[in-house]
């Protein structure tokens, strides 16, 4: 477990990412002059579909390489690292929860959770079992994702994201595929488990109910200048 701290865990400055547009020429999707998140903090970003929220999270996670700027996670600048180093940092420090769960269908729930930490060099099955127990799936370790409800699948995804003991958890519309009851429960679970593990949580969503669960909510358009430029 990471000790709770109020120091900055994530510090972003001058971050830019563009893609080729169908019309030709680059189209800027992310232009974030500055952003920070304290260690152990929980923040929700409000943004409409297509506003670049997922790209923003992919940049923080190192899944995409930034065109410019820096993304400091602790002492390391994700944006300055080569791909193998980004993979290592993601494997050891960042948990990711997807809207569509993205569980590996050929693996049992326990194996999915084990894989969540295995790429960082740990593969502790007892820890994985403890996490499944924590998310209320203690008897489902040998089940396959297709044998679970959508709510249960997202709980497995939460356990997987926390398996490596991340300092930062990124959640991309984690309740987008869930009904209202499951969405509330899942959201509460994500927040509680992140708090228990001392992980900072950055959630992006356009769902008012999901956003309402957070004490601190910011508009992504206020952070990402590319959204304003697109609107104008």
């Amino acid at each position: 477990m990471n000790p709770p701290s109020t120091g900055p865990l994530l510090q972003i400055s001058g971050l830019k990412k563009s893609f080729s547009s169908p019309e030709g020429g680059p189209r800027t999707i992310v232009d974030v002059p500055g952003f920070s998140l304290a260690a152990g903090a929980q923040l929700a970003l409000r943004g409409e579909s297509g506003s670049g929220k997922t790209t923003f999270l992919h940049l923080i996670a190192g899944i995409l390489a930034a065109d410019a700027g820096s993304i400091r996670i602790g002492d390391l600048d994700m944006a300055a690292l080569g791909e193998p180093a980004r993979d290592r940092l993601r494997a050891s420090a960042i948990g990711y929860i997807f809207q569509t769960f993205n569980l590996l269908q050929g693996y049992s729930c326990l194996e999915n959770v084990v894989l969540g930490m295995a790429f960082g060099g740990k593969a502790d099955r007892s820890h994985a079992n403890a996490l499944l127990d924590r998310v209320g799936l203690s008897n489902h370790g040998r089940h396959y994702p297709r044998q679970l409800s959508t709510g249960q699948q997202q709980r497995v995804a939460v356990a997987r994201a926390l398996a490596k003991g991340p300092r930062l958890v990124l959640a991309d519309e984690p309740t987008g595929n869930l009904d209202r009851k499951n969405a509330r429960a899942t959201l509460a679970l994500i927040r509680e488990t992140c708090r228990e593990h001392g992980a900072a949580l950055l959630l992006v969503s356009h769902d008012p109910e999901a956003l309402g669960a957070f004490e601190e909510v910011r508009d992504f358009a206020d952070i990402n200048l590319a959204v304003k430029e697109a609107a104008s």
Binding site: I63, D87, L104, F119, A123
Partner: protein, 401 residues
């Protein structure tokens, strides 16, 4: 551990294509090992069989036919020699031993060979090894209607000491062409793993004077097996019989004649080997195709693993490792194919020639072929591995509804 888990799960997820591809590898490796082992062992076994005799003297004709007839008990005899020819070479100062044989009859397809008792008492079938009888048996008396059965012939014909039989005329079995003579089995030879195992031995005199044979040939022999005192003696006798004479053939050196024979049919080996190599190549290509074709279905899983922190080289290694595992599974099953194929082929060769091949004496091919097949399969996995390596994570992870 993680790599092994990924490989195992992938093999299981694509179990059908894994089994089919491994099956094709099994056939390819089994075929390759069988062709190679049978080829090398047959050549070595045939050459080894001839080592107890240096030469064969027979009627004018093909040296190979003479050797096959007199030593391997195959083919028809090219003709007979007079008693005087046999006695001449028997007492030749350059000759250590000369053993006459006569052929021309059979027992339900198994050749009867007329021989002197010296064949069993004096001649070494391999260095330091003579014919040995099973307990309770003895060598036939030279003038009696008695027989000693080779081990394979005895087993196939169900012969044991005390049994009696009527020989059949000719080298091929014709149930309507039976001799009136009645022979009694007085001994069964222990296995020698040579063509002698397929033969029923009777006294030379008995075969020469068999009821129904023309009496004017009663002193003739079919061939004389010769052991020389020195290698140089072969040159002199070769000159005398083959170059200066025109009535007899002196087949010498026997091992070289057999080697020449294998050399002449080496094209057949090469064709078989080529077929086996092509099958191996196709099997390897099938590994490539099966993994490559399933790559679209795997893209998302690979992207998820990458998002969890898996490095590109691990994904690359997992795909290559999977291909190698398919190769490994195939090769393991290939040993079963090899065992079955080899047993069938070796059985046929033993039944036809008496030469025994050993399934576990394949030499280096039994490790070289599996290693090469696994390496080829891993190589076949490189192409889909490169495709997996290049999968764009962010694009592939885009939500699907």
């Amino acid at each position: 551990m993680t790599l092994a888990l990924i490989i195992l799960r992938s093999l299981r997820q694509h179990a059908l294509s894994t089994l089919i591809t491994a099956g094709s590898i099994a056939l390819a490796s089994g075929l390759l090992m069988t062709v190679w082992t049978v080829k090398t062992q047959a050549q070595s076994a045939f050459t080894r069989t001839t080592t107890s005799f240096d030469a064969v003297l027979g009627a004018r004709g093909s040296k190979l036919q003479l050797v096959l007839n007199a030593i391997f008990h195959l083919e028809a005899s090219p003709g007979n020699l007079e008693q005087a020819d046999y006695l001449y070479i028997k007492h030749h100062p350059l000759v250590k031993a000369a053993v006459p044989i006569a052929v021309g009859d059979n027992l339900r397809g198994y050749r009867l060979v007329g021989a002197l008792t010296e064949m069993f008492t004096d001649i070494e079938i391999a260095p330091g090894k003579k014919f040995t009888l099973e307990p309770g048996g003895r060598i036939f008396s030279p003038m009696a209607k008695e027989a000693v059965a080779g081990s394979f012939a005895a087993a196939k014909l169900g012969l044991k000491v005390g049994d009696t039989f009527h020989p059949f005329h000719g080298l091929d079995f014709n149930p309507n062409d039976q001799h009136a003579d009645l022979y009694t089995v007085v001994g069964v030879l222990q296995p020698t793993n040579t063509p002698a195992d397929r033969v029923v031995w009777i006294p030379l005199h008995g075969l020469q004077t068999m009821n129904g044979h023309d009496p004017k040939y009663a002193t003739q022999v079919s061939a004389v097996l010769v052991q020389l005192r020195t290698p140089a003696a072969g040159f002199l006798l070769d000159l005398m019989y083959n170059k200066q004479g025109n009535r007899l053939t002196f087949a010498w050196p026997v091992a070289s004649i057999i080697a020449d024979f294998f050399s002449k049919i080496s094209w057949f080996d090469r064709v078989l080997a080529l077929v086996a190599y092509l099958v191996a190549l196709v099997a390897t290509a099938s590994v490539l195709a099966s993994i490559y074709n399933s790559m679209s279905a795997r893209q998302r899983d690979i992207a998820i693993m990458r998002a969890l922190g898996a490095r590109r080289r691990m994904i690359f290694g997992a795909v290559v490792g999977e291909a190698a595992c398919i190769g490994g599974l195939g090769v393991a099953a290939g040993f079963v194919v090899y065992f079955v194929l080899f047993t069938v082929v070796a059985g046929l060769i033993r039944a036809q020639t008496g030469v025994v091949l050993d399934v576990w004496s394949g030499g280096r091919v039994l490790w070289l072929c599996p290693v090469a097949m696994v390496a080829l399969c891993a190589l076949g996995g490189v192409v889909p591995a490169v495709k997996a390596y290049r999968i764009p994570v962010a694009e592939t992870l885009a939500p699907i509804s």
